[in-house]
């Protein structure tokens, strides 16, 4: 705390404090001598009175001295400053840094947005500086004017820039902005250093501060609260998408960041067409997850968004996405035993299950061939090759299949009568084309009294996950004959067992080879060894295998605002252009590049190829809960001034720069002292005549 005086010359007036003492001394010297008949009564009265009165006289003397000193003090204009600025710093140049929170939460609208007011306050602050002062502007989120930010500029330049500053679609990082401001101020030689942080005090903005920020003793931080109290907001904070063949499944997480329950309508739009709408009732400060399933009209790239109703903060009411619905899935069935009798044909049930709707509506295209001729087929055009009870007896088979799988093809192998254990182990297992080594057949296909069934299933696996929690009873499926395979848990890294028989042998195995996958089903694909094909679970089982393979279908990516996704383009393409949602065109000739212009949430289109990607908000800012003063005190150590209203900025600034004027309190004290002096001096004693009268009347009564 320091003190200085606006009119220090008047401090000499404090010498007037000795006037009462001088008067006392002079008046004592000038007393005249009075002849009196006797002093006996005077002495007695004097003795009795003086002990009491001397104290009063001393008090009076002190009061009068104090009054005179106070008069001088009040006139000299004392000003108290509680910290920071020194006596000599008054009136000298100010180095001010204005940190403007332009995160998207500042767009919260009830009347005016906090951001518009915040910009007005920033202009007000810059106008309060003098020509000799330094002013710099820092934005919590860069939205342009890069060259003008974080450097001291002429105040008029700051005032020109401020109206054109726009809101960002990102969250604020107060810690980084403050650190930068402190760094700039540390280089400033000015005696008065000020930081004005104009923010909505949104809590998430402060979470990046890992350790306390210490302000130097000569730095003053003014925290201007630009936010609104009791703000309410509903936002879509996350969407999980799953494309299964022609279906899009979306799980939308909707958060209610309000202190009360709310209702909102949630819609999903695909290619700008509203597809579904659901009402959501969300409790205060909680979230719900809504599931949408939309049948896509056609394969290919689609874009869309999920939205909630308008509220105070609209920017987080939409979540954008782009999906790639795979085209027809080509499957090659290699029939190991063709038969005119459908039930004896190895592929009858497979064919029926994979393409139940027939014709153009089916999303799976099935070609069928025989074991003898499949090697002549161009396997690359098939996503999946199914070996159904196929004899493997030549080296050419693994020579053809291994490159196919390694490049991304998939293989599904079913057992049957044509299987030769040694040949399979030799040409497939040893060539890494079989997940496990075959041991021997087990059971009798004609003895239906003895059977194996599902004993253990990996329901967490994407193939079996649809059966989890349903009333489907897999144990009703009977397997009369199977192939026992060798399985060592040590193989778990490369080979996964997805289900087991009741005798403990693996039923269904999966192996990754290169970019492709190999599945082994240790029983037949038809009803010769089991009754699985005639159970309702057979079709979904096969389709789940197909879906799991489609997982690898390249889906458009989703990025956060202001992220810099690294994109790869085919080397054949000479020039790439990206069109952002606001129509901005960005171009490059590089094959690999980082795209940094993701400032706006929405769908971005990459040309040529018309591929899409989505950019969404990082919804940290959607929770408008405010940080409280104590928490800020934990984050920032130093001279902090909290300002809750914009019109308090300038007075608070002046208080700190110039201090608090004490003249008025001193005048009040002066009046009080004068009153006390009057009371002590007169003690409410009546005039002499009145007192005499009272005294005499008292005597008469006596």
């Amino acid at each position: 705390m320091s003190i200085f005086f606006l009119n220090p010359v008047f401090l000499f007036g404090m010498l007037s404090g000795i006037i009462p003492i001088v008067i006392h001394m002079v008046s004592n010297r000038k007393t005249e001598t009075v002849q009196f008949s006797t002093l006996r009564f005077l002495k007695l009265s004097h003795l009795r009175t003086m002990t009491r009165l001397k104290l009063r006289q001393i008090v009076l003397l002190l009061l009068r001295i104090l009054i005179l000193i106070l008069i001088s003090l009040a006139i000299s204009g004392p000003v108290v400053k509680f910290s920071g600025f020194s006596f000599f710093g008054k009136g000298k140049a100010v180095s001010a840094i204005i940190i403007l929170d332009n995160s998207y939460s500042m767009a919260y609208r009830r009347e005016d947005t906090p951001f518009i007011k915040a910009k007005g306050a920033a202009i007000q602050i810059s106008k309060s500086t003098k020509r000799s002062d330094e002013v710099a502007l820092i934005l919590t989120n860069s939205t342009g004017y890069q060259d003008s930010l974080g450097v001291f500029l002429d105040r008029s330049k700051i005032q020109d820039i401020l109206p054109n500053i726009s809101l960002s679609n990102d969250y604020a990082d107060i810690g980084t902005a403050l650190t930068e401001a402190i760094k700039i101020l540390s280089k400033s030689a000015g005696p008065n250093k000020e930081i004005y942080l104009i923010t909505d005090l949104q809590k998430a903005s402060w979470n990046n501060i890992k350790s306390s920020i210490n302000l130097a003793s000569d730095v003053h931080l003014y925290l201007v609260n630009a936010g609104k109290e009791n703000s309410s907001n509903t936002a879509i904070t996350d969407v999980k998408l799953k494309v299964q063949r022609m279906s899009l499944h979306a799980n939308a997480e909707i958060n209610n960041f309000s202190g009360y329950a709310t209702k909102t309508n949630v819609c999903i739009y695909i290619d700008n067409m509203k597809k579904q709408e659901q009402a959501a009732y969300i409790d205060a400060n909680s979230k719900i997850i809504l599931n949408f399933s939309v049948d896509m009209d056609k394969p290919g790239l689609h874009h869309g968004y999920i939205s909630v109703e308008h509220d105070g903060l609209n920017i987080d009411n939409r979540y954008f996405f782009a999906v790639n619905v795979a085209p027809v899935f080509p499957v090659l069935l290699v029939n190991g035993h063709k038969s005119v009798f459908a039930y004896l044909d190895e592929c009858f049930y497979l064919r029926s299950a994979l393409s139940p709707s027939k014709g153009s509506l089916s999303s799976i295209k099935i070609d069928e061939t025989t074991a003898e001729s499949f090697l002549s087929e161009k396997l690359d055009k098939y996503s999946l090759v199914i070996l159904a009870n196929v004899k493997v007896n030549s080296q050419s088979i693994p020579d053809t299949l291994k490159p196919y799988v390694s490049k991304g093809g998939n293989l599904l192998i079913f057992m049957g009568d044509n299987i030769n254990v040694s040949d399979y182990n030799r040409f497939l297992y040893e060539k890494e084309l079989l997940p496990s080594k075959l041991l021997m057949p087990m059971g009798d296909e004609d003895d239906h009294s003895n059977f194996f069934t599902f004993a253990k299933v990996r329901y967490k696996n994407e193939i079996f996950d649809i059966f989890e929690g349903t009333n489907v009873n897999l144990s009703r499926i009977h397997f009369y004959k199977i192939y026992a395979v060798q399985y060592d848990p040590a193989m778990e890294k490369s080979t996964k067992v997805l289900s087991w028989y009741t005798n403990g042998y693996p039923m269904f195995l999966e192996k990754q080879l290169g970019k492709g996958r190999i599945f082994l089903f240790t029983s037949s694909p038809n009803i010769s060894w089991n009754d699985f094909p005639i159970h309702s679970t057979y079709l979904p089982f096969l389709h789940q295998i197909i879906y799991s393979l489609e997982r690898d279908t390249t889906q458009p990516q989703s990025y956060l605002v202001n992220s810099a996704p690294r994109l790869e383009i085919s080397p054949d393409v000479e020039k790439v252009s990206i069109i952002s949602p606001d129509g901005t065109l960005w171009q490059t000739t590089d094959d690999t590049f980082s795209y940094t212009n993701t400032k706006t949430p929405g769908i971005y289109q990459i040309n040529p190829g018309k591929t899409l990607f989505a950019v969404n908000l990082d919804t940290k800012e959607s929770d408008l809960s405010k940080i409280d003063k104590n928490e800020i005190g934990e984050y920032i150590k130093g001279n902090l001034n909290f300002i809750s209203a914009f019109d308090e900025i300038i007075p608070s600034m002046r208080r700190t720069r110039e201090g608090v004027r004490l003249s008025n309190p001193l005048l009040f004290l002066l009046i009080l002292l004068l009153l006390i002096e009057g009371i002590v001096a007169n003690r409410f004693i009546p005039s002499y005549a009145e007192r005499k009268k009272m005294f005499m009347s008292a005597r008469t009564v006596k």
């Binding site: 007393t31 001598t33 002849q35 009196f36 008949s37 002093l39 009564f41 007695l44 004097h46 009175t49």
Partner: protein, 297 residues
């Protein structure tokens, strides 16, 4: 008649330098204000007849009674001048304090002169004792015109003296005066109250009647000073710096205690106590004397 009354005002009589004239004016003025002439009582009044016996003065034989009864009777009269009065006037320095036109001593002189004049007119013997710490003048009581002149001259010549010692004067006189009489003490009584009362009681013990005229200046009772001042004692010459405003109430209380004590103790000792202010007209004081004189017969 009115012209006489004005001479009862101390302010007026202070301007008259001749004490004889003062006494005459005061007494005549006072007497003329009474309804009944005081001279009636002053004539030689017949009391009773006594059968002549040898040795009796023949001039007192009632010849009229002889003519009627043929026997000699002697007329007996009320004694006219059997009262011997002593006026004790305090002439200590404190008595010379004055706030207005008249000092306490001057007032005392007026009072003493007036009383002496009145008494001699009544054919009472009157004596004068002027004292301070000791007796300065002593005039034994007599009843004659020449004696009055002597008293007035003594009063006129007396100047301020020393400190007061009333009790010593009282004791000395009480032992000296053999015949019972009337003691009139005119003083401000600024002495030790207990010893003063003892002295006065000594008179009472000797069967004297005592009147005390306690003379005080108005400033002594009201203490109206405003400015701080150094007060000097007229007797001891000692000084004291005092702010009158601050001690005034205490002073009043002290002074009140002082006069009340005399009043109470005098009452207990069958002594007449008259508090006199130097601004009071003298007839008030003379009235006090006359009532006392009437009780004495």
């Amino acid at each position: 008649m009115q012209s006489y009354r004005r001479f009862l005002d101390p302010k007026v009589i202070a301007k008259i330098s001749n004490l004889n004239l003062v006494a005459k004016l005061v007494v005549e003025g006072f007497i003329s204000g009474l309804h009944k002439s005081p001279y009636q009582g002053f004539s030689v009044e017949f009391s009773e007849h006594k059968e002549y016996s040898p040795g009796d003065d023949l001039k007192h034989v009632d010849w009229k009674a002889y003519g009627k009864t043929d026997k000699f009777y002697i007329k007996r009269y009320e004694e006219e001048t059997n009262l011997k009065a002593y006026i004790l006037l305090d002439a200590s320095n404190s008595m010379f304090f004055k706030s207005g036109h008249v000092s306490k001593y001057e007032y005392g002189c007026f009072l003493a002169a007036s009383l002496a004049y009145l008494m001699i007119k009544q054919r009472d013997s009157v004596g004068l004792v002027v004292f301070d710490e000791k007796i300065r003048n002593y005039i034994p009581p007599k009843c004659s015109r020449g004696h009055l002149k002597n008293i007035l001259q003594t009063l006129d010549k007396t100047s301020s003296g020393q400190e007061t010692n009333i009790s010593k004067t009282c004791h000395d006189l009480a032992e000296t005066i053999k015949r019972r009489g009337l003691i009139i003490l005119i003083s401000d009584l600024f002495d030790d109250a207990e010893s003063v009362i003892k002295g006065l009681k000594h008179f009472r013990h000797k069967k004297h009647e005592v009147i005390v005229f306690h003379i005080l200046d108005k400033y002594e009772t009201t203490f109206p000073y405003e400015k701080p001042a150094v007060f000097q004692d007229l007797e001891t010459k000692k000084t004291l710096s005092v702010n009158p405003k601050l001690i005034r109430e205490e002073y009043w209380a002290e002074m009140d205690n002082f006069t009340n004590r005399y009043k109470r103790d005098c009452s207990e000792g069958m002594i007449d106590y008259v508090k006199v202010d130097t601004s009071m007209p003298l007839d008030v004081v003379l009235c006090s004397y006359l009532s006392k004189r009437a009780r004495l017969g």
